[in-house]
């Protein structure tokens, strides 16, 4: 199994909560309005994000609610991977459940400037800055988690179980 992805980096600070990735106030307007407000605290992200881009967050990224729409909205935008100094537990678990590559890597915030190109080797938990050539090792996922991501999420596993 090899899960390697690369993309352009968008940087975020500490304590980016799940409400920012799926704002309650925008729900009444459906995806169109939600799309407009995903991570709206960043001045450019929303308008300029492209499929394959990475998010590099600070500490406690994804703190807050259990809304799986936080990672699935990111997937819908085409985000290729989320890397952070540390993560809110449910967000981390939800990323694995929906097969959005995620890596906890202390020190990653200083490895990147916004706009740098990044490459993630998820199996070996290595995140590399292709712009500067520097890399860091993060905390490896368990084999079960990697399997879940490579198969497309826990629902795909469930389908196999039900056969």
């Amino acid at each position: 199994m090899a899960i390697k992805v690369s993309g352009k980096v968008w940087k975020f600070g500490n304590d980016i909560n799940t409400d920012l990735m799926d704002p309650g106030f925008a729900r009444a307007g459906g995806w169109e309005m939600t799309r407009k407000y995903i991570l709206h605290i960043h001045p450019k992200f929303n308008a300029e994000v492209k499929a394959g881009d990475f998010i590099v967050g600070g500490r406690n990224y994804g703190c807050g609610s259990s809304r799986e729409t936080a990672p699935s909205n990111l997937k819908r935008l085409g985000i290729g991977a989320v890397i952070g100094e540390s993560f809110g537990r449910i967000f981390f678990r939800n990323c694995i459940a929906v097969a959005l590559p995620i890596l906890q890597c202390p020190g990653v915030a200083e490895l990147f400037h916004e706009g740098d190109m990044a490459e993630l080797d998820l199996v070996n938990a290595v995140i590399k800055n292709l712009t500067t050539g520097k890399e860091k090792k993060g905390m490896p996922l368990s084999e079960e988690m990697l399997t879940m991501i490579s198969k497309g999420g826990i629902i795909e596993i469930l389908k196999e179980t039900m056969k």
Partner: protein, 417 residues
Amino acid sequence: MGMTMAEKILARASGKKEAKAGEYVTANVDMIMMHDGFGSVSTVLENTGITRVFDPDKIVVLLDHQVPPGSLVGAELYRRVRNAVKKFQIKNWYDWKAGICHQIMPEKGHVLPGSLIIGTDSHTTTYGALGAAATGMGFSDAAYAVTTGKQWFLVPETVKFVLKGKFPPRVMSKDALLYLAGKYTAEVAQYKAVEFSGPGAKEMSLSSRMTMSNMGVEIGAKFAFFEADEKTLAFLKGRVNKPVSKFGPDPDAVYEKVYEVDLSALEPQVAFPHTVDNVRPISQVGDVRIDQVFLGSCTNARLEDLQIAAEILKGKKIHPDVRMIVTPASMEVYREAMHGGLFDVFIDAGAIIQNPTCGACQGVHTGLLAPGERCISSTNRNFKGRMGSPESEVYLASPATVAASAIAGKIADPRKV
């Protein structure tokens, strides 16, 4: 070597003699709680071709997040949930007649000490107040558990908070939790279980314990336990028809870290925007004018919370520039508050009273904030845009502080009213 509460429960639920922090287990869950999230869960089940749940007795479904819906999106979601409840023959179904999920689960006897519970809501940690290992998950994880009865867990390390001393008057368990968040950050228990123990924990009412366990997730916790003791059993009496017993950690359990907190030294605390750990004691709050006051949510809308607010508001009027919303956590609380005369106090003071719902706490319906407005709230999150406009501000505090602030029109010390 002894086990923590988390280790004991995960060992039992995964059919093992022992479970140690750091190990992965596949465990049988004892109960699954789903609120509005069942709409998404049931869609996943239908798309996967699943027609039945693993055990109808072990599933609770209710509606609480937008009761009654204020948008078509909400109305359609609720219709989907109601249809799915029939289709999957859910037995423990409360519709929107009972109240907020985290109040209803204990009230209706679905939380047993020592059990393993998952819910489609981050504040599922609330049931730790009754000695249950309870945690929030997303709807895909919930769909897996609803079908198979199982889920994977990383056995967490446990952090212990030893609570000593007695609260001064009008200082509440909410203040204790906010104090911990402020002092040790919102990550003090990231990925970990918490055990609140010591004489201060024993002394606390079930209601106060639930507030702390509820906000356990705001300091990162996966589970947030109190020991199940005489008070827990007294609460459960008449609510469950199964034998229940006390539950706690082994005396020689190993903790990652132990913190001591002197409750008698605490003053009321306020979390400033936009993080839960941006906390100041009331003496250092300064002059913060407010527009809205919210007394509600799974954190602090039980009878004890409404009582202390009413005690402060009795015979007084809320400030003319302030509006106050009271939303009891459940119909049981609503009825008790109504019969206890609390509604008269709130109405006389100028507040409005709503049916039980998550409501204003999460900015979907019933009381959104306009740009530039400020709210002091008895809820659990003050994230940017949480209660409405991204340009509004939310300050978190206890029911006592919230009530005192309503009168003053600015954040105020409940001990000085």
